[in-house]
Symmetry: C2
Subunit: 367 residues, 2 copies
Amino acid sequence: MPAPGVERCTVNEEIRVLMATDSSARNAKRVTITDVARHAGVSTAAVSKVMRNAYGVSPAMQERVRTAMAELGYRPHAAARGMRGRTYTVGVLLDNVRNPFFADILDGIRDQLEDSEYTVLIGAAGFGAEDQARTVRALVDRQMDGLILIAPGTPRPEVLATAAVTPTVVIGHHDASDVHDSVVDADDVGAGLVVDHLVALGHRDIALVSAAGNKAGRWQRTPEIALADGYLRAMDRHGLSGRARVRHAAYSDDGGHTAGLALLSGDDRPTAILTGADVAALGIYRAAADLGLSIPGDVSLVGYNNTAIASLAPVQLTSVDQAGHTMGATAARMLIERVERRRDRAMQTTMTPRLVVRRSTAAPGVR
Amino acid sequence: MPAPGVERCTVNEEIRVLMATDSSARNAKRVTITDVARHAGVSTAAVSKVMRNAYGVSPAMQERVRTAMAELGYRPHAAARGMRGRTYTVGVLLDNVRNPFFADILDGIRDQLEDSEYTVLIGAAGFGAEDQARTVRALVDRQMDGLILIAPGTPRPEVLATAAVTPTVVIGHHDASDVHDSVVDADDVGAGLVVDHLVALGHRDIALVSAAGNKAGRWQRTPEIALADGYLRAMDRHGLSGRARVRHAAYSDDGGHTAGLALLSGDDRPTAILTGADVAALGIYRAAADLGLSIPGDVSLVGYNNTAIASLAPVQLTSVDQAGHTMGATAARMLIERVERRRDRAMQTTMTPRLVVRRSTAAPGVR
DNA sequence: AGACTGATGGAGAACGTTCTACACCCTCCG
DNA sequence: CGGAGGGTGTAGAACGTTCTCCATCAGTCT
């Protein structure tokens, strides 16, 4: 096995060049609603009405104001709007910019809102609960019209408090609530699909690697917990309860690598491993390579989320598709319904997952 | 070669469950500065001063106001602040959520701003120039204190106009300006490093795959252009001008795949390929696999950015490290200097890249 | 003709901050 | 003892919107 070699450089040289010209001329007054009103010869109230296409505006007025806006290149000042009405902005909480599954969700949200007047702004928090809570607060303080929280690590009570003030959709956690909407994937079903597939191939020693459910947040059914549940039930269904084992790992390459080494270097190594995220599966892939084990020859490996990396040439990872794009789009649609008060009951949407078989799974013991 | 198989499922079933309870109670008044002032028995002006730790506040006043804020759990309303002063928010324009290099930059920005009072909000645009321009406008309208634009596709004139109004740092483009700051990587040097490395291994037919420079935006030196420049100069230096060839491709798995097929299926296929992004390199990897070529046996392959995927087990891609984290941190630092008016001259920071050799490059003709 | 409608436009008060003046008090100096 | 001057606090006008009334006006109905 070749040595891994130097992988990351740390310090780079900086060359700073000071430019010549002074540019403190930050003047350039904005065009305001008052300017538009004056230019069109009407009141600001009228302009406001036209913008929000409110009731009580004649076509002639419409026309006049719209051309005035166009002529002056007017753009409403979102912060000012936020003081009274809407800001036409939707905030998304994202804990992990690196998980490509979240990129799928994001694309779904974006596509859904593309042609609306709403803008999406992303608050990228770290993994820490406090970090995330701070980001959520930041979004609320910036007067977002609605919030989409992707598998928040923020304690549930705080999310409920936020949701009481701002329309909120939670993606991932299975805990239903009458105060926020939810979009979830039936992770338990997904785990079942995988176990069924592996058992059909002849596997019996199937291990699960998933993130540790954060009980701290008081969420009863995080995606991880649902996944583990489904896994255990499926194993039981096949009479394999005794052989079930769950190992916790962070959903990152490193996390998977560590878990993989632990699982695969023992005497009774499993013949198949199911993971809660594709990235973690890749870490296990690396661990297997380190130990001289081949995939799927020695071990079958299954990811989750069916992200783009799963289908990459050298990888070809069997995975569970969650249709992140659809989840994102659905969440956005539900959120806007709430923001515009077209619905006042909380709602939950569940997506059914689907197994995508590639080359990382095979019958056990076949070299 | 096994068939690629079904890779992506499209439609998922939706199960919608309407919840029982009505939750239209979106009341819950915010705590405002007035509340704090009343509770502390002082004027709102005093509270405002304390918050901004402005001049002319006695320690006693400090104390009183701070406890009042704490007792009421006061959080300033960012939208309202935006009307007069700052919003304490930095906006980041990101065209491609999927490129992990940008995640590195983002982390750098976040870490730099972690302990400050500033919050980072990300505007995720698509690749289209109009799409991006719209996102930038959205950020400006939301009264961001400063903007970080990561390799914007927005036309240069528009960026300059924006920068005249809001402090701006451009990452990537080499075009200097006296109105915005810049953080760039010496991409030409990076390309040179790669060519030197490959030539030292014995390669002579070295091709470059990079994104098409978008002349439309009126940027003279995009990263791609600088890269191609460095490549051509290095080839020339080694007397290989005649053998140089550049092929354009989108920086995505698919883009790389297409370019790879085109380059590698011809008669005079290169013995080494240099790409402008790791993702594209992976696409070429896939193309090589499709054609039954091995890497680095038949073709050496080099990526760019040294993202996490480059070091993944099955990949082990030689790449050029750009220290995205440092770039992000530097950009954030420079931006805040500008926002707080501690500097009024435009500035450019250049980072020097570094080659990270892994297993995807070897001497040519060695199987 | 007078009263009642419905449709349309405008006045002006919010909204929660910041920030410029200015008022007040104390101390110090002539 | 009067005034200058520095240090602290406050009043109140912005900031750019939204939105609730209210006024106006042209029809329509008795």
